[in-house]
């Protein structure tokens, strides 16, 4: 088979991060080629360079031997490169046919739309895919699986030669997945090259011809599916040794402080967990496994459908973040800039913001006390800022994170939930954050830590719970810490090595 899409020497770096190291990769005509890697391995960046959503620093992309220069997603689409992301790019209020022909509507004489013709052609494409969705149906009324088929029909009707599918099965039911497999088979038979991104190893073995494993922005290996195994792929994905130094725990792990029992909400199907005083509980899982959602439920940021939060063995009601804060729970959110800090406000303002009443119990705000609190935590957490009036937007990521932490220390949190605490933070500041987390746990704070960075997760945690599709897939005590085990659980492969609960 011949190469349809060739990537030569592509690389991409952002300030401070090498997102893609120079590499060569070619995709054959009519193959299903899997891209595999942990969160942050560089898969998304690779896809974006192919579609032209990001410009590369070096290298060339050739489609059918022709070099694509200065292409953007619209141009790629014209040339036959289409991508279906997890978030569909459909217009829910338009019909199926209107979506399929969006931006290249067929017009008759006088400029009027040839609605009938577009509907007929859409129906044909859909029939070829093996489905009988009405071209006149409104997209908003379709199931997720059918919406995905509309996305596919859009690509097919544009004669896409390369189709990129990012986690296509994530939102689908089992039956829909089977149907998708069949559609992929049909497209393949027509010579369409499919780049298939999935965390689910089983799918890759069911569906793909070759697989490329990525890690830390580098292309590790491209293998024929027939000549590899799940075990080999997991090893390749994880690959790196735990090379960071993590501060050792000296905490005496105490009583259970926080318990979450059978939490249910959108994306959280049934999660139970507990964390003890002085313990760091790691929450592992793939993107979409329900980790952030679980954290937000415990913090009262989202509404529970059912389930119970318990503190110190007592049932408590946590309906709002306000309730959670009153119970001594703090959340250091994943999206620091939008949910963690008030960027346009000062360091002091942010520090005292969750504890205003506590700092100023009287009628008036006590500016002196606020300032004193700002100073105390600036010194204690070593927040680097020229002065306390500095707006938080001007601080580095690591210092912003410390400001969020200061806020929760001031409210006297006994349970802290860190959601991706070191995301977007440079290496030195990461170590500081680790140090602070450890100090807190040594002081008896119960910590839940969500992280997609395996070394950090295993390095910091005393115990790890792995979530998969909104459920607890397994629990690992410190003795069983192993990247492959975590990854197997997170990918829904079940747990082969026996683990015992850490008490």
């Amino acid at each position: 088979m011949t190469a349809l899409l060739e990537l030569n020497g592509l690389s991409k770096s952002y300030p401070g991060v090498k997102a893609l190291l120079p590499f060569d990769l070619s995709f054959r005509r009519g193959e299903v080629h899997a891209l595999l890697g942990e969160n942050g391995a560089g898969k998304s960046t690779l896809i974006k360079t192919i579609t032209g959503a990001v410009t590369t620093d070096s290298g060339a992309i050739r489609l059918d031997g022709l070099e694509l220069t200065g292409h953007d997603p619209a141009m790629s689409l014209d040339r036959g490169i289409a991508a279906i992301y997890q978030e569909f790019s459909l217009f829910p209020e338009l019909t199926v046919a209107e979506n399929v022909f969006y931006g290249r509507e067929l017009r008759g004489p006088g400029g009027f739309l040839r609605r009938r013709r577009m509907e007929d052609e859409t129906a044909n494409v859909l029939r070829d895919l093996g489905t009988d969705i009405s071209p006149r149906a409104k997209v908003a009324n379709l199931s997720v699986g059918h919406q995905q088929l509309v996305e596919l029909a859009k690509s097919v009707s544009r004669d896409a030669k390369v189709l990129i599918m990012d986690e296509p099965t994530a939102p689908l039911t089992n039956k829909e997945v089977e149907f998708l497999y069949a559609v992929v088979g049909k497209l393949k038979a027509r010579g369409v090259t499919i780049i298939y991104i999935s965390h689910r190893l089983k799918e890759i073995f069911d569906l793909c011809d070759r697989v490329t494993v990525m890690r830390d922005g580098a292309l590790i290996s491209t293998l024929e599916i027939a000549s590899t195994s799940e075990a080999e792929l997991v090893t390749l994905m994880v690959g790196r040794p735990v090379d960071q130094e993590f501060p050792p725990s000296t905490a005496r792990i105490g009583e259970v402080v926080l318990e979450a029992q059978n939490l249910v909400a959108p994306k959280v199907n049934d999660v139970s967990l507990h964390v003890r005083a002085g313990e760091i509980l790691g929450l592992a899982g793939l993107v979409g496994a329900g980790r952030t959602e679980t954290a937000r439920l415990i913090f009262g940021a989202d509404t529970l459908i059912s389930g119970q939060i318990r503190l110190d063995g007592q049932n408590v009601t946590v309906r709002t973040p306000r309730d959670a804060i009153a119970h001594g729970i703090g959340l250091i959110p994943e999206d620091r800039k939008h949910h963690g800090v008030l960027l346009g406000m000062s360091v002091t303002f942010n520090t005292v913001y969750a504890a205003l009443k506590q700092v100023s119990p009287g009628l008036f705000a006590n500016a002196m006390a606020e300032r004193a609190a700002g100073e105390k935590y600036r010194d204690q957490l070593r927040i680097k800022t020229p002065n306390l009036e500095q707006l938080v937007v001007n601080l580095s990521g690591g210092n912003q994170q410390k400001v969020v932490l200061a806020k929760w220390l001031l409210t006297g949190s006994r349970v802290l939930i860190f959601d991706e605490p070191t995301r977007g933070i440079d290496v030195g500041a990461k170590q500081e954050i680790y140090g602070l987390m450890r100090e807190l746990s040594n002081a008896g704070v119960a910590i839940v830590m969500i992280s997609s960075e395996m070394p950090e997760l295993l390095g910091m945690s005393d115990r790890v719970i792995v979530l998969c599709e909104g459920r607890v897939a397994g629990e690992l005590g410190k003795a069983d810490f192993d990247q492959e085990k975590v990854l197997r659980l997170a990918s829904g492969l079940g747990n082969e090595g026996k683990t015992d609960e850490h008490e």
Binding site: G40, P321, K337, H338, G340, L342, G344, F349, A365, R423
Partner: protein, 332 residues
Amino acid sequence: MSTNETLLGGNVPAHAKRQKRDLVTVLAQYGIYLALVILILFFASQSDVFLSKDNGLNILRQVSVIGICAVGMTFVMLTGGIDLSVGSVIGVSGMVCATLVSLGFPPIVAVAAAMTFGAFAGLLSGFIINVLNIPPLITTLGLMTAFRGISFMIGGGLPVYGVPDSIKFLGQGYIAGIPVPVILMVLAFIAGHIILTHTVFGRQVYGTGGNEEASRLSGVNVKVLKYKIYLIGGVLAAFAGIVLMARVNSGQPKGGQGYELDIITAVVLGGVSIFGGVGRLTGVIAGVLIMGVLANGMILLNIDEYVQWVVKGGVLLAAVALDQFIHGRGKT
């Protein structure tokens, strides 16, 4: 990858942004006073009577109604909201108060009833925004029309006369040579300023306007906060309505019509961002004075009333454009 974008956002523009901000912030904070001074100097050079003490007090008295409302509007706009219904609340409040006293109720009861209506109007806005999830602009646009209708319904479309002296005092009286409405406006500004800068509630107003979700996640009860700020806006508008009624000696069904635009213009001119979170009442008072000076100066110069509308509309757009320039992109 989101990681890199975050990094990008954190690393690159921070320093550059700071320098640009410093200049722009200084301009944003003090430019308004400069504009006021220039405007005063201009009209003084064009008209002999402009700088007289009487004319000065006249301007102040004329702006007192929108000034009182501007305090409430500042609270609303700092949280990122807007209240278009204030002009109609002024009308209803004046009509309620005038009607009740003309029916023989004691003035205090009439005033209390009018203010109660203002409180009701504010809570209704809060309810629609919080519970029905309708944006403030649309909510208060609807209420503006509905309340104006009520204002006409109260007197069957006719003005109500017969205002007792005790109420007239609120609009026409003097204390130590200063018109009472001006004193009331100044008191409203002082109280508002203290609340915004020296109370926990004030901190939460700024914080919620700066980032509503982060505020909620910091334990602020954002919904209750919104009820409170629309309540403040409604009560102050109702109070302004009583002052206006007392000044013109009658409840006018059309009272306060179109005031909302002058009020919003004054608040935005005063440096309150339409995106919320930024602005001070010390700036707003200058915004209010600019509106008053402009109106008064243009009348002294015999500028056609229709031209005055064009100027006012232009000022509003210029103020918002400036706000967009200063705060529009910095906001995340």
